[in-house]
Symmetry: none
Subunit: 270 residues, 2 copies
Amino acid sequence: MTFTNIRRQIASLKNLPSAARQTQIRERFAARPGVSVSGLALEFEVSAMTIRRDLAVLEDQAHIQRTHGGAVLTQRMMLEFDYRGRRENNGAAKKAIAREARKLVQSGQRIILDTGTTTLELAVLLKDALNLTVITPSLAVASELQHAPGVEVILLGGVIRRGSPDLTGPATEHCLELFAADLAFQGADGIGLNGAIYNSDLRLARVDKIMRRVATRSCVLADHSKIGQTALARNGTLADVDFFITNTAAPAASLKRFARLGPKIITVQP
Amino acid sequence: MTFTNIRRQIASLKNLPSAARQTQIRERFAARPGVSVSGLALEFEVSAMTIRRDLAVLEDQAHIQRTHGGAVLTQRMMLEFDYRGRRENNGAAKKAIAREARKLVQSGQRIILDTGTTTLELAVLLKDALNLTVITPSLAVASELQHAPGVEVILLGGVIRRGSPDLTGPATEHCLELFAADLAFQGADGIGLNGAIYNSDLRLARVDKIMRRVATRSCVLADHSKIGQTALARNGTLADVDFFITNTAAPAASLKRFARLGPKIITVQP
DNA sequence: GTGTAAATGTTATAATATGTTCGTTTAGCT
DNA sequence: AGCTAAACGAACATATTATAACATTTACAC
């Protein structure tokens, strides 16, 4: 393919994968209150049927409402909380760890979900839970679960960290003290070789400590890359938690040492 | 290999090492909302399978999501709420009222912003405030002010009402008790002719009552259409507030009666 | 060179997306 | 209301893409 052809593709929005096309359709609503099937078909150079199917998908996600000849925005408010584009590593391991953590959750429980990418993956898996109460300082978790019919979301109060979709500070700590939960899930920015648990933010560390106190049992989720790392603030040790879930790439020697501290160690294949 | 050969290779995007190709792919997202496997395979002159493997790697470490035919960016996270029904009436009046309310706010203050469309307009005007602390149960207000450099946002905790972008419940009430503020701004769903203030939600009414208690002074914002309306829950009367801001379309007789209750009445031209 | 590991290509099969046709429904018009 | 042209959606046919398993090439150390 020549360079000119590539440029033309970029400009003409041709040959986009379907999900990208659907995103583009959504963005059309920013400028106009409604879109037309025929117009979009011309613009993306696909058949009208394809556009209809795209609109059906978007309607299913409750973003838009179909009309004859096109679609309009549903009356809804979209709140954007941007988050710093931290690069996520070991996405597959985190997903696997979250799947294992999901098994610890039972209907009717009240659970605490900490801030973090791994706990966010767990939130995704909890969407179909029944009669669950989720207490969280993370706007991302709240966002993920807000439409889950079987889940009541309680957002902890607190200061919104700039550039980060979560709440911290003394208010969060006080607010957390109001609750009692069956199970707390926490991430970590580092797990020392002696079992110390580290956060990169002092305020998060304080919150994590309280989480464990108000929850009957607690569970730390961390992929193998965290083991041996330290960070700014130590919020406790693995001796304080009931479960530690990591992936099998974690060094066996460390896991043995951790097990002696008390928590049940669970490893998953990434 | 000669330097010239290397240059030619780079220019044609052929024979790139995998990491370099993946970086190139990431840069494609700057220009396009999504990439296609087939397009990239042609462009880099590698097989589609290689591109798929590249995308799998990128999915693990960057913020992209694989789709059929390619991948899309997954950068933004948004909280979406069903926009609870009623289209906004008297938008101009609400904006004017908010402009007047803005004048009551001074640098360095801690203020409480209630849930509601009028208070949300006020939040928009507070974006350029300096050294301000805003305490609110409204996710919409928090979203609006999260990037304001001179404003610290404290979100009250609580249950996320399904389809409503705000927090209520006992947790919100407890959380609110932790604070003291200089000034509270509240909306209202109705103002009785005798000065009673009404909310359409019982839990919101309880929260509003506490807001006035923890704030030194309070201010009710309501356009003229609310006067003479009643709603489910009475949260107090205008005798409890310090300012009442409405638009000039409000009946003069009612305003006179309200003034006798104590609050300073401010009217604005819509 | 030779061995080894990583990267890439190939193939077969399953899954998904798209286009087309056609009978039915809808919106807009007189 | 009744008419008409457009739009819809179901069903099928076709084309594209994904995945896994295996074969091949490349890169690099020795």
